[in-house]
């Protein structure tokens, strides 16, 4: 148990003991010492209702807090809100009675996060987009059936799907078969930057769109075994349709998820746009998978071939059914493009803001890849340690997704409170990994802290950008490779600067700098 969490709550408990004392409850742990785990049974646990948090108003609950003008919190400023809530209430905060959502318990304590993860049973439940949930399980039930994929799917169906696909998609040696493919795409992106930048070497304000194209091109080669040609000068018609659909989906899904969910009552315009985009993505994906399946049927058996692609391995699992691969590819598009792109944008911004660190990284790349035409292999990637430290540090201070969470599948004691089944426990990694309690000089950008020889003793569960355990990010291996290779190629080729007014990070709903991403890419000589 974390001392911080207990001491603060116990202090409150002491202060109001005359008011709050309840014969059922006895708090033995009144000191600041760390409680040993074995004493857990001696302690009386406090009730769920006693978890501190903002008071809900009658009828409208806590939803009003997120309404424009009268509310205190803007969605884009959830980062600030989380920090305020922790300061006001402590390491565990309950936010209940938000319109059409289960109660949320915000957790600001790495040790308690570890506890929730370690207590996971066979079917961990990860809260996710309710609109996608509706699309897969109600609207297009005929297509998805019991094979919903992994995003917005829970229980036995989630387990069935994940168990089928997780071996090929998570085994590091399979991801490493894609190093060359990912490197080629990164090189195409380098060429594209040379083409699109202006005379002063600055790229346009919508550079994030270009990053999206790189990301889609990379993931399509992994999920569909094809080159979509997103980074070519003339884009093919069906690629264009897919790109447009993906843009529409990202632009609208946040509104469905974070604003008042009118779509649950009637077909709003945003909802219709989102559904059309999802259908388009599904149809285009299905077309490519069917083609791949036909191609594969002509080929000889691939299962014995250790160089078989991810798609070949997935098709092998159920050779007559193209749906498994289609649904997996769709999930990879839904959550593997904007996240990876946001990470790249954020890392580029940090490179521009920390020129000294960019210089160290450039030197590392030069020493490991002295010739610009040298091809990357696992060996070189392993040695690029400062690159990985830089990425980790960006994720610590600016995690692309501010938090993670689990819907409790059983009642559990957290921070000394009994939390019932069904509550969404939200792990506040952004606040935790920016707090002095977990990282020394937390507000300083220091990739060096992640290097092995001077690694700080930090809590391993404080910064967890890909999650942990049975529901850890399924695309992690590919996302890491894509990001590492692209950043290495960009720093190798360009000196990266940002000459405009500094940017603020905002939740959009991914966490990245808000404003024009007009980086300056000057050729390195």
């Amino acid at each position: 148990m974390n001392s911080n969490c207990f001491s603060r709550n116990n202090f409150i408990a002491l202060k109001f003991s005359s008011l709050m004392f309840n014969k059922r409850l006895r708090i033995l742990n009144l000191n600041n010492k760390r409680t040993s785990k074995s004493s857990a049974d001696d302690r009386y646990i406090r009730g769920y209702n006693e978890i501190p948090g903002p008071k809900a108003l009658p009828l409208i609950g806590n939803s009003w807090r997120f309404l424009p003008v009268i509310g205190q919190h803007r969605i884009e400023k959830i980062d600030v809100m989380s920090k305020q809530l922790r300061e006001q209430y402590g390491d565990i905060v309950k936010v209940d009675k938000i319109l059409s959502r289960p109660d949320m318990v915000l957790l600001f304590d790495a040790e308690q996060i570890e506890k929730v993860f370690r207590n996971e049973d066979t079917l961990p439940f990860r809260p996710s987009m309710s609109s996608l949930n509706y699309y897969k399980h109600v609207l297009r039930k005929d297509f998805f059936g019991d094979e919903g994929g992994v995003i917005a799917v829970h229980g036995e169906n989630w387990l069935k799907f994940r168990t089928k696909v997780q071996q090929p998609i998570l085994q590091p040696q399979i991801a490493k078969l894609y190093i060359n493919v990912i490197e080629e795409t990164a090189e195409l992106f380098v060429s594209r930057i040379r083409k699109i930048r202006r005379k002063n070497n600055e790229v346009g304000e919508n550079f994030l769109n270009d990053i999206h194209l790189w990301s889609l091109e990379s993931i399509a080669q992994i999920a569909l075994d094809i080159k979509l040609g997103c980074l070519d000068d003339a884009v093919r018609k069906d690629t264009e349709i897919l790109i447009a659909a993906i843009h529409t989906f990202f632009a609208n899904v946040a509104i469905l998820e974070f604003k008042v969910p009118f779509w649950k009552i009637f077909n709003t315009r945003t909802w219709k746009k989102c559904i059309t985009a999802l259908d388009t993505m599904r149809n285009v994906t299905m077309k490519y998978i069917t083609q791949a399946l036909e191609k594969k049927l002509i080929q000889t058996n691939n299962s014995s071939n250790e160089n078989a692609s991810l798609l070949q391995r997935i098709l092998e699992l159920d050779p007559k059914n193209p749906k498994l691969a289609t649904i997996l590819a769709l999930d990879m598009f839904l959550v593997g493009i904007d996240t990876t792109s946001a990470a790249v944008a954020s890392i580029l911004y940090q490179l521009s803001q920390h020129q000294d660190k960019q210089h160290i990284l450039f030197n590392e790349i030069c020493s490991i890849l002295p010739n610009r035409n040298d091809k990357l292999t696992t060996k070189e990637l392993q040695r690029l340690i400062y690159l990985k430290a830089f990425i980790k540090e960006t994720f610590r201070m600016y995690p692309v997704v501010l938090g993670n969470g689990r819907c409790l599948t059983k009642e559990m004691e957290i921070c000394g409170y009994q939390v019932p089944k069904g509550v969404h426990v939200i792990f506040q990694h952004y606040v935790i990994s920016n707090s002095e309690h977990y990282f020394k000089n937390a507000n300083k950008f220091e990739p060096e802290r992640w290097l092995k020889h001077n690694k700080e003793q930090t809590h391993a569960f404080a910064s967890l950008p890909f999650g942990f355990g049975k529901r850890m990010c399924l695309g992690r291996r590919f996302a890491e490779l894509e990001i590492q290779i692209l950043i290495a190629k960009l720093v190798q080729n360009f000196h990266i600067e940002y000459t405009r007014q500094p940017l603020e990070y905002e939740v959009q709903p991914l966490y990245l700098p808000k404003g024009p991403l007009s980086f300056t890419f000057s050729d390195r000589t």
Binding site: D41, E120, Q167, L170, P172, E411, E413, A460, G469
Partner: protein, 142 residues
């Protein structure tokens, strides 16, 4: 409040070795011995096939180690954590990969000679290997 240990982990995991080819294998491949030492001192000696990972050994022998190998060997958890003797740790043919190290950082009761069981394959050289299990959630609570 008691955490209930469950066999569901074992039922639901994708076995890297299915029962059929297990029987096939038994005829042809050499058999070795491995001993697991639990936190309470209990020693469990089992036989296994050449090339099996320690995770395979636990699954194939139906050993009921609380939550062991939850992710099925995909390097996303650290529940198959084992602690080796220094000399055994040093003589393993491979050092941990980056992916394994990332997960070892998250292992409960991590030591300098910790490894993940899913990454250790039993060969002739490792016949008779003895590994210790860290305490599980259950041990911590009881």
């Amino acid at each position: 409040m008691k955490y209930i240990p469950t066999n569901k982990f074992i039922q639901s995991r994708s076995l890297t070795t299915t029962i059929n080819n297990l029987q096939e294998k038994e005829k042809s491949t050499p058999q070795y011995e491995v001993t697991f030492v639990k936190k309470n001192g209990e020693r469990i000696k089992v036989t296994c096939n050449e090339g099996d990972s320690l995770l395979d050994v636990v699954l194939n022998n139906n050993l009921d180690f609380d939550g062991y190998g939850a992710c099925g060997g995909t390097l996303t958890c650290s529940t198959c954590h084992v602690i080796l003797k220094k000399e055994d740790f040093d003589r393993l043919p491979d050092t941990p990969t980056e992916e394994e190290n990332d997960m070892l950082d998250l292992a409960y009761e991590y030591t300098d000679t910790s490894r993940l069981g899913c990454q250790i394959r039993i060969t002739k050289d490792l016949n008779g290997l003895e590994v210790c299990l860290p305490s599980s959630i259950n041990d911590a609570r009881s």
